[in-house]
């Protein structure tokens, strides 16, 4: 059964939602009705789990304990088990907080993977990893590609299985900010997305649902073929600059969550991973040109 098939009574405040997100089974409980609404919409294609099923991450998005704060300038607290790793944020940002919180849960704990802060997409066997610091336009580019037919493996967390060197998909929503939101909405008016949440520490935030086909292929792991570092600069002509293998290698380490924790296993996984890949710096100012360039890779 998928989340979209759940009865409305299961989607009320205080109820626990249990579902698989790729290799992770999560349980979510909240005081805020909109969290349930958004999860049901954005994660509609994900499989629901039984009450007795094992849970990797027990997540709670709760209201303040303080009586005044329960009603006035409401806040949302994120909990994993009994731990509260973050300071609270305004309650209307509860769903983005769920997303950021789940990123944190995975990147802090899932050391069976070498984890890179990067997007990863795939088409016709061409699997591209896009590491990118904030402001590079990575998420907008990812959204354009994914809604134009590329498979989404992940928008934020590239999970490299240490046992096989393959990338494990998550197919979680794409996180877009500020102007990117309207760009993608205009280009793809039929794509489902969350409500736009204003005034977060990142500006306006909106989460775009992954295509059904990406979710359906969540168990299909891929071998990376390309590592591309995108840099958007308005009106700039498209140019590519091949990167040496070792530059790409160290770029991945710089963007990794846990290379240092994995020690030798991280080194072995990453050297194996980088073998056979091609890497480029990509500068572009026009989305259409960038899309075409990526399509050419798959021919």
């Amino acid at each position: 059964m998928k989340l979209k098939d759940l009865a409305k009574s299961k989607l009320e405040s205080g109820k626990t939602l249990k579902f698989d997100v790729g290799p992770f089974s999560i349980a979510v409980k909240s005081d805020f009705p909109n969290v349930y609404e958004e999860i049901a919409k954005i994660y509609s294609e994900f499989e629901v789990l039984s009450d007795e099923h094992f849970v990797d991450f027990e997540i709670t998005l709760r209201n303040s304990h303080s009586l005044i704060r329960k009603f006035f300038r409401k806040q949302c607290f994120f909990q994993l088990g009994d731990q509260e790793p973050f300071t609270p944020i305004p309650a209307n940002q509860a769903f983005p907080m769920f997303e950021w919180g789940l990123n944190w849960c995975i990147s802090s704990n899932a050391h069976q993977y070498l984890m890179i802060h990067a997007a990863v997409i795939e088409k016709n066997g061409v699997c591209v990893v896009l590491p990118a610091p904030p402001g590079s336009g990575k998420s907008t580019l990812t959204a354009l590609l994914v809604f134009s037919g590329w498979r989404l493996l992940s928008d934020e967390l590239t999970l490299i299985e240490t046992s096989s060197g393959l990338i494990q998909p998550l197919a979680r929503p794409i996180n877009l900010k500020n102007q990117s939101i309207s760009v993608i909405k205009q280009a793809f008016p039929n794509v489902a997305h969350s409500n736009i949440v204003k005034d977060t520490h990142k500006g306006d935030v909106c989460l775009f649902k992954a295509p059904d086909a990406s979710v359906a292929n969540i168990d299909r792991k891929s071998k990376a073929t390309h590592i591309i570092l995108p840099k958007f600069s308005k009106n700039e002509a498209l140019s590519t600059d091949p990167m040496s293998q070792d530059s790409a290698f160290f770029e991945l380490i710089a963007n990794s969550f846990n290379y240092n924790i994995l020690g030798l296993s991280g080194f072995n996984t990453l050297t194996e991973f980088i073998d056979g890949t091609s890497s480029f710096n990509l500068r572009y100012g026009d989305n259409k040109a960038a899309l075409e360039w990526f399509e050419a890779l798959t021919l």
Binding site: D246, N260, G263, L264, F267
Partner: protein, 86 residues
Amino acid sequence: MLKFRSNTVTRTHEGHGTYIYNIKLSETLFIPIDVETFFTALSSGVENKSELTEVIVKDLDCSEEHAMLAVDNTLNSLQQRALIES
């Protein structure tokens, strides 16, 4: 005696170079020499630099001068990161 510090691991990728990792120091390094035998020689230890130069000349079919430069640069990089036994 020129030898890698113990607990040093290497991975050579043909056409690119060799990645090096020391477990105790948690150091990661890349040397743009893809001659695997050069690094295995360093792992087991060599008496002097000329043994290493020989390996490079043989494998890359280059001049002794070029080989010596490569060897010197490599040893400098490794020594800077405390990866050569002293």
